[in-house]
């Protein structure tokens, strides 16, 4: 267990380092400074700005400062923070290049709860619809109910989330004004974007769960349970469910990553002030500090979720040895 966690931690560090380095190299390799896009500044102003964001430093020094935890700075970035060690390893994502006087940390702290609420809603939809659909399909294979659930799941897998979002808004916000078209603030604002974001994953969960249930229900040990006289309901719930959940749980890692990715688009469609829309805005406006910061936050989130998934996996299946395939 401990060895597993340590090993994952080492891989995690490697991944984070790779993300930082690749982002940094990408940033540095762009022709022209990041601030030069919108308007031409007076040379002296430009020099001041460059100095403020360390753009006048040599590359290695910028890289070290970005990585941290160091303070290579004599004059400080945001005035009063000069005494603080900066850099990503000091959990300081630096100042935003676009939103002057706001740090990336502040932007993330403000927007992450919004995105988390959206993501959790989406995951909730995915599990609720997916598990229910899979269960119904697997317990009544070959019936009309099964066929309906499978057609719906194939559709869900074939439609991109932004298409589902557009159609949902057309149907349930414009034609029948039940939910708000866009925006943020009330629980009603969460329903449509959460559904659109979660639907493809619900479809996949339904497939996995159906296949998993059918597979476990056909195993010899289920016959043993029937021979013991265990009621069917208890067989499904106690004997078949845990095994059938294993593939669903191992899908949760990729699903979480996919939901984060999808949120970039969904937050844009529904104008939700989440981390994803900040990321897109940052990337489009060449706010590299912001874009890299969000990338890192998402990397950490996905990584942590994957570790949790592996732990849950080991909890369900006693045969899984965490140390072996870490």
């Amino acid at each position: 267990m401990r060895r597993f966690l340590l090993r994952r931690l080492a891989w995690f560090a490697l991944t984070v380092w790779a993300v930082i380095t690749i982002s940094f190299v990408l940033m540095r390799s762009v022709p022209g400074g990041p601030l030069s896009s919108d308007r031409t500044l007076h040379p002296s102003v430009e020099a001041a700005v460059n100095a403020r964001y360390h753009l006048d430093w040599p590359a290695w020094r910028q890289y070290l400062q970005t990585l941290g935890p160091l303070n290579l700075d004599e004059h400080g970035l945001l005035g009063d923070r000069s005494a603080v060690f900066g850099g990503i390893l000091a959990l300081d994502l630096g100042p935003s290049l676009q939103h002057r006087d706001v740090s990336v940390n502040e932007i993330v702290a403000q927007s992450l709860p919004v995105s988390a609420a959206l993501g959790v809603t989406a995951l909730g939809w995915a599990l609720l619809l997916g598990l229910a659909g899979g269960l119904v399909s697997a317990l009544r294979p070959g019936t009309a109910l099964d066929t309906t659930a499978r057609v719906l799941s194939t559709l869900g897998l074939s439609l991109p989330n932004f298409v589902i979002a557009s159609l949902l808004v057309l149907a349930l916000a414009v034609a029948l004004p039940i939910f708000p078209v866009a925006g943020w603030g009330s629980p009603a604002h969460l329903v449509l974007p959460g559904f659109a974001l979660g639907a493809p994953f619900a479809a996949y969960v339904a497939r996995l769960f159906r296949a998993g249930l059918l597979e476990t229900l056909s195993q010899d040990c289920i016959r043993t349970a029937r021979a013991k006289g265990v009621p069917w309901r208890a067989i499904v719930l106690r004997h078949a469910l845990p095994g059938a959940l294993v593939p669903v749980i191992s899908f949760l890692g990729p699903a979480a990553a996919g939901i984060l990715t999808g949120s970039l688009v969904i937050e844009r469609i529904f104008t939700i002030p989440g981390t994803g829309s900040h990321f897109v805005a940052g990337a489009l406006n060449r706010d590299y500090a912001l874009a890299m910061g969000v990338t890192l936050v998402y990397t950490v989130a996905v990584y942590a979720l994957n570790v949790l998934v592996d732990l849950a996996y080991a909890l369900i299946d006693p045969r899984v040895e965490l140390e072996k395939d870490a």
């Binding site: 056909s218 195993q219 010899d220 040990c221 016959r223 043993t224 349970a225 029937r226 021979a227 013991k228 006289g229 265990v230 009621p231 069917w232 208890a234 106690r238 004997h239 845990p242 095994g243 369900i316 299946d317 006693p318 045969r319």
Partner: protein
């Protein structure tokens, strides 16, 4: 009245290429405390028959076409699912072939043992656990208390099968059906498991239906034996008589192909020529006729029924034939001739 009386059981399977007759006709009668062996090569329908009589086959694709399964006078094929559940595991215990796949991999030994008690006797969990521990001790598992929290993959194959036996016996069933209980295990483990089965059977007075392809084993174990071929019982009778004087040519061939230590390696072991029939294309006549050395033209045209060996033929020579039945046109004459000579 016998404990279990199965009559005329017919089972078919729906396959993409049409229906396949897996069991053509199966019948058995078992008294309380009795041991009966069901012998046949793989695919002869012996396991399917055993599963079908407790309605453990998945339907579809399986379908029980006809038959009666009278267990203590009640027809199991007519019971509702709920009543059937009260019989399965309570009156009727099962030990399956492969203990590795038959035990639930994600549940502890204790949980799996206690389950039957919780379902059938509604015991409180602590006393169920106590009974499970005793049951493990009874089947010869050391440190039974510690084993209760183990998972199946942490035990050896022999231990797992002991757990299966303990599980089947936990509710003191009147009949135990053991489907090739040792085929998946080492030879050395086999002997000890059979000793165990015999011990618990004697102590509890449980009837045993032992499904096996091992004829040598049968002669030491079961009082009566049924031989199945191609989905039908072809011969039945007291094991001692059946082994000494097999009536059906298939039984004869089966007995001849049992290797013994005295068999010289220079001589090839006699094998039954040909292959078992394809259940998708059943023959018109006797299913064994194509492989039978005694087959007559009539054998290919008409399927012989399972009939009692005529007592007149055997009785004349002063041999008492106990409830001996055989399904062979030719054998009756042949046996009669042999006995009277």
């Amino acid at each position: 009245m016998s404990l279990l009386e199965v009559r005329n059981l017919r089972v078919s399977f729906a396959t993409p290429r049409g229906s396949v007759q897996a069991v053509e006709s199966f019948g058995v009668s078992i008294d309380a405390g009795e041991t009966i062996a069901l012998v046949g090569e793989s695919g002869s329908g012996k396991s399917v028959s055993a599963l079908a009589l407790a309605r453990l086959l998945p339907t579809p694709p399986a379908r029980i076409e006809t038959g009666e399964v009278l267990f203590e006078g009640r027809d199991l094929l007519l019971l509702g699912e709920r009543e059937l559940q009260r019989v399965r595991g309570k009156e009727l215990g099962f030990v399956f072939q492969d203990p590795t796949s038959s035990l639930h991999p994600l549940m502890t030994i204790g949980e799996q043992l206690e389950e039957a008690l919780l379902v059938h006797e509604r015991l409180p969990r602590t006393s169920a656990r106590q009974r499970a521990e005793w049951a493990l001790a009874e089947v010869g598992i050391a440190e039974p208390k510690a084993r209760l929290t183990a998972f199946p993959h942490q035990l050896s194959g022999g231990m797992r099968q002991r757990v299966m036996i303990a599980m089947a016996l936990l509710t003191r069933p009147k009949l135990l059906i053991a489907d090739e209980p040792t085929t998946a295990l080492d030879v050395t483990v086999q002997a000890s498991l059979f000793a165990l089965l015999r011990k618990v059977q004697r102590e509890h007075g449980t009837a045993l239906l032992l499904i096996t392809h091992d004829l040598a084993l049968v002669s030491t174990f079961a009082r009566r034996t049924l031989v199945m071929y191609a989905g039908a019982v072809v011969e039945s009778g007291l094991t001692s008589e059946l082994v000494a004087r097999p009536a059906h040519p298939y039984t004869r061939a089966l007995l001849r192909s049992v290797p013994s230590l005295s068999t010289s390696l220079d001589h090839a072991l006699p094998v039954i020529p040909g292959t078992p029939p394809d259940p998708a294309h059943p023959a018109l006549g006797c299913a064994f006729a194509p492989r039978c050395e005694f087959a007559l033209t009539a054998c290919h045209q008409r399927r012989p029924a399972l009939v009692a060996l005529s007592t007149s033929a055997s009785g004349a020579a002063g041999v008492r034939v106990y409830n001996r039945r055989v399904a062979c046109t030719e054998s009756e004459r042949a046996l009669a001739a042999e006995v009277s000579s």
